[in-house]
């Protein structure tokens, strides 16, 4: 057997990471511990002596895998997988293992800081927490504070907006937003999974999980589970591919590590998956391969959809021209899928919006899946069970002066949103561009930003920079001096996940459980968890801001005349949600389950009967629930929509100009002019977007990103491996090295997201590789305003 065993790194060639000594310093040594800076970080060998073990949850990506931290002499020396958590099934991925380097990153934000240079210049002064809170309230000579802004805006709380990245403490931050009274909340959804969650939501009533432990046939299209790890999917799945129980059809324009595990790889033309699914559906409906009983019982609008498929002639032959996938493959896959149904999965995925039609694509996928009856059933898509938690007190005052969300509802008006549905998490690009273009309904002047890096995560970096420069007050809460933090007026350093206890979380699915992130060591430097930051901040600003409300809010004035100020203030007291410690809140949250809090402290995980059910069956395998206790089927297949049916035809969204049934439109066809390339972006297993960009261990694995260029094209252009390439588009330019490969089509290029930060305070991430969002054009998807990531044509040249 011919096998490759060379230890040579495939992509890195001879690029080894050298010792960082003598590297140029960041403008201010505030960012780096001078002693550690300039020296190579070291790994610590675990000892054989005494150690303390703390169960925690990983935060190196969104999966929240369970880990056990080994602490020796107050130092975290190792993170091991915690076998007790059903979701992560006794594993930690490379990033999870490298969490130690996030904790001991010498570039971490260490102290509160306020801006002393120009906005975006990255010049700060170290201050105390109290001074930082005071600067937020009262400003400095460089920037106005909340008091001045809200006074000028007559207590329109919506002039300050809030945004957060995904995370367990996001809720704590959002509690502050609710009390503050702004209408403008942006989360990462419109840059991520908004369309997939909503597409499934309106069609099946929920965004389901896929039972990849039992599915026999899986179509994975536009999802790359070997490189974009999702737990437990990744673990369940790749033990069963390659002729071992799960047949995999991988549909992806690029040959990914998932394609390497497939039985069949179909290199589809980017953005045409909708045509592929419509043709699959056409075959299944025309040949009557669907589960008739299920459709009869649980479908709404099936006849209309069927007529629509026929009328539009969504045949495999039609789809072949659009997708590049041979018609016979489409016939075969449609038939095979239904042969295996309901143990067949069209994998929902969870990724950014790649093409304008993504919402319709998700609807079409959900309907196709349901045609096989694989809903709420073993081996199909499952809803599972969730163990409910108890809530805690919050304040949600009514501010009469606060305007609604910064979107005009009437078409044609300035500030009209460019998408059909204004969702809770908003449309980041829509919001940014409205303000940049002066179409804001009212002045938007400040923002609070938690664990979010718009300079890296949103298409068109130039516009984001301009947008940030235009804001009067930017407060960032983060662990790292990211590109966005450089634009802050006040920087509040959060501790890393290993230094804090976060809100306890319940994880639904066939094997539901509750898990908690326990604090492993005390926060280093002067960093704090978000809940402590919120407590300190609200103590500072709550009363003074109420004074402004009193000045402008007639309702409050009347109310005070009636009930007296002390009574009224109780409803406006922003400190209330943060009175208790996180540990107390967690204990309360699980107080409905006897023994849960103790189990969470001890094991990090709890579910009823865990002691009875949880078993280790071999060194690698564990059982969490007996088979007959797994919640594969909780509703006998009934969808979770209000009607209890699969919604094929959504008449109510038609009113908003959205196709009521998945429809292929001429405008979805895409043209790549001669000499240009369609730009694709994506993920891999050793990085989580820009969030891990400065992790020295991960940086070791992939030093920089490379641009994939088809080998034959590269040869024609005289481009060799490692040549520096400039990539440019209407939006901007970036530079990175070339990787000629046959794994990509001649008219496309690809590079992974998360590289090429410009913040000089990041020793390892600074200008390593290229930033995709510097070249991706800021187009939005028409339904929810999601950022469309794959519709930019770029030029490349060797420099």
């Amino acid at each position: 057997m011919a096998v490759e065993i060379s230890r040579r790194r495939f992509l890195q060639g001879s690029v080894a990471m050298t010792v960082i000594g003598g590297m140029s310093m960041a403008p201010s040594n505030l960012f780096s511990n001078e002693k550690e800076h300039g020296e190579l970080s070291i790994t610590t060998k675990t000892g054989t002596g005494e150690a303390k073990f703390v169960p925690t949850l990983c935060e190196m990506c969104v999966n929240k895998c369970a880990a056990i931290a080994r602490v020796e002499d107050g130092v975290v020396t190792k993170l091991d997988p915690n076998p007790m958590f059903p979701k992560s099934r006794n594993m930690l991925c490379p990033r999870g293992n490298a969490g130690i380097q996030a904790l001991y990153d010498p570039d971490r934000l260490k102290y509160p800081m306020i801006r002393i240079g120009e906005k975006g210049e990255g010049k700060f002064k170290r201050v105390s927490w109290d001074e930082a809170y005071d600067a937020i309230l009262n400003g400095t000579d460089k920037f106005p504070g909340l008091a001045k802004i809200l006074d000028e805006e007559k207590d329109n709380r919506s002039t300050i907006f809030f945004c957060a990245g995904e995370g367990m403490a996001e809720h704590t931050f959002k509690t502050f937003y609710t009390g503050f009274g702004s209408s403008n909340w942006l989360n990462h959804a419109s840059l991520c999974l908004r369309t997939v969650v909503s597409g499934y939501g309106v069609t099946l009533g929920a965004y389901p999980q896929a039972d990849l432990e039992n599915a026999e046939y899986i179509i994975m299209a536009g999802a790359n589970r070997a490189e974009a790890i999702v737990t437990p999917d990744t673990m369940d799945f790749f033990k069963r591919t390659k002729g071992r129980g799960a047949k995999l059809i991988c549909v992806d324009p690029r040959f990914t590590n998932t394609a390497a595990k497939a039985d069949k790889w179909l290199p589809i033309k980017p953005g045409t998956d909708l045509a592929f699914v419509l043709a699959l559906t056409y075959v299944v409906v025309m040949e009557e391969l669907y589960d008739k009983a299920y459709v009869e019982k649980y479908f709404n609008g099936f006849k209309q959809y069927k007529n629509h498929l026929y009328a539009e002639e969504y045949t495999p032959e039609w789809a072949e021209k659009i997708t590049g996938i041979p018609a016979e493959d489409i016939y075969e896959i449609a038939r095979d899928f239904m042969k295996h149904a309901p143990k067949a999965v069209y994998y929902p995925g969870r990724r950014s919006t790649f093409a304008k039609n993504d919402f319709q694509l998700r609807r079409a996928m959900a309907i196709f899946q349901a045609l096989g009856g694989g809903i709420d059933t073993k081996g199909g898509l499952v809803f599972g069970k969730k163990l409910p938690l108890k809530g805690h007190s919050a304040v949600a005052p009514m501010y009469a002066q606060a305007e609604g969300v910064d979107v005009a509802r009437a078409k044609g008006k300035p500030g009209y949103s460019d998408c059909a549905i204004v969702s809770g998490g908003g449309s980041w690009i829509g919001f940014r561009n409205r303000i940049l273009e002066g179409k804001s309904v009212y002045p938007v002047r400040g923002m609070f930003l938690y664990k979010h890096n718009p300079m890296m995560n949103m298409p068109n970096v130039e516009k984001t920079a301009k947008f940030l420069k235009g804001l009067d007050l930017i407060v960032t809460i983060d662990t790292m001096p990211s590109d966005t933090v450089m634009y802050a007026d006040v920087v509040l350093p959060e501790c890393t996940y290993l230094e804090r206890t976060d809100p306890v979380k319940t994880f639904g699915g066939p094997e539901p459980s509750i898990a908690v992130r326990n604090k492993v060591i005390d926060p280093m430097y002067e960093t704090k968890p978000v809940i402590d930051i919120m407590r300190g901040l609200t103590e500072k600003i709550s009363k003074p801001l109420f004074e402004i409300t009193k000045k402008y809010d007639e309702d409050v004035q009347d109310d005070i005349a009636d009930r007296g100020e002390a009574e009224v203030y109780k409803e406006f007291d922003l400190t209330i949600p943060f009175e208790h410690s996180q540990e107390e809140l967690n204990e309360h949250a699980v107080s409905g389950y006897p023994g849960a809090y103790e189990a969470l402290c001890k094991h990090g995980v709890f579910y009823p009967k865990m002691e009875e059910y949880f078993k280790q069956v071999s060194a690698n395998e564990h059982v969490y629930y007996p088979d007959d206790e797994k919640a594969y089927s909780v509703r006998e297949g009934k969808p979770k929509t209000n009607s209890g049916k699969v919604e094929c035809n959504l008449a109510n969204i038609a009113k908003k100009g959205v196709d009521p049934m998945p429809t292929w439109r001429k405008e979805y066809e895409y043209h790549v002019p001669e000499g240009k390339f369609r730009m694709l972006t994506g993920r891999h297993a050793q990085f989580t977007q820009s969030g891990t960009a400065n992790n020295v261990m991960l940086h070791d694995l992939i030093h920089e990103n490379y641009i994939w260029i088809n080998k034959r094209v590269a040869k024609k252009m005289g481009i060799k491996f490692g040549d520096m390439i400039e990539v440019s588009s209407e939006a901007g330019k970036t530079r990175l090295k070339a990787y000629p490969t046959e794994k990509i089509a001649p008219d496309q290029v690809f590079f992974i997201h998360g590289f090429g930060e410009e913040s000089e305070a990041l020793t390892w991430a600074y200008r390593s590789g290229g930033n995709d969002n510097a070249v991706i054009v800021d187009e939005i998807e028409p339904v929810y305003g999601g950022a469309v990531m794959h519709s930019t044509n770029v030029e490349i040249r060797k420099v």
Binding site: T46, M235, A685, K711
Partner: protein
């Protein structure tokens, strides 16, 4: 006294490199792209887009094979490289003079230079960390998302590894060299 070996369900490997990071953190392996005890061999794919050979793109997880007839041990002039009581091929840094004979002799390319100690280093089955603490899995085994590795005592007929090697077909790398590796790749 045991005879430790490892079985690898290599088809599970997704080339995520969790094993490499876990090994580095557990054993204090030097940072640096070329410093590692464990790696995944990847072959450049064959064919031209879109006609690519899926089968040509394999991931081969690899590390020191802990040969029973280890060429590195045979060439080591100072006996730094030796078999320990569990049949694990070890390097004693106090004896190593960095002559690099072993690096050339190893047919599996398992060894690298630790720049801190200026000695040769490689996988030792976590002998001085996890095994020394009485643990029964290696760091690379425990962390792997798809559970590629089974570590254990080949002399114990009831061990998981002995059972799996009885039940399933397997092969070893470069068997013609007569090194008798104790890493077994499961088919």
């Amino acid at each position: 006294m045991a005879r430790y070996g490892m079985a690898l369900d290599y088809k599970n490997c997704i080339n995520c490199k969790a094993c490499e990071v876990a090994c580095k953190e557990e054993n204090g392996v030097l940072l640096g792209a070329d410093k590692h005890r464990i790696w995944v061999g990847v072959k450049e794919i064959e064919g031209e887009f879109p006609l690519l050979s899926i089968a040509s793109n394999t991931f081969m997880p690899s590390q020191c094979q802990h040969c029973e007839h280890a060429p590195c041990q045979e060439v080591c002039p100072t006996h730094a490289t030796h078999y320990d009581e569990n049949g694990v091929v070890r390097v004693d840094p106090d004896k190593c003079i960095l002559c690099s004979y072993c690096m050339n002799a190893c047919p599996y390319d398992a060894r690298y230079v630790d720049d801190r100690t200026m000695t040769v280093d490689k996988c030792n089955f976590c002998s001085d960390t996890r095994l020394a603490r009485g643990e029964t899995t290696t760091a690379c085994q425990a962390t792997c998302p798809t559970k590629v590795r089974i570590f254990g005592d080949l002399d114990d007929p009831n061990s998981e590894i002995s059972q799996v090697l009885r039940d399933r077909e397997h092969f070893s790398l470069k068997p013609h060299l007569g090194t008798k590796p104790k890493l077994f790749y499961l088919i």
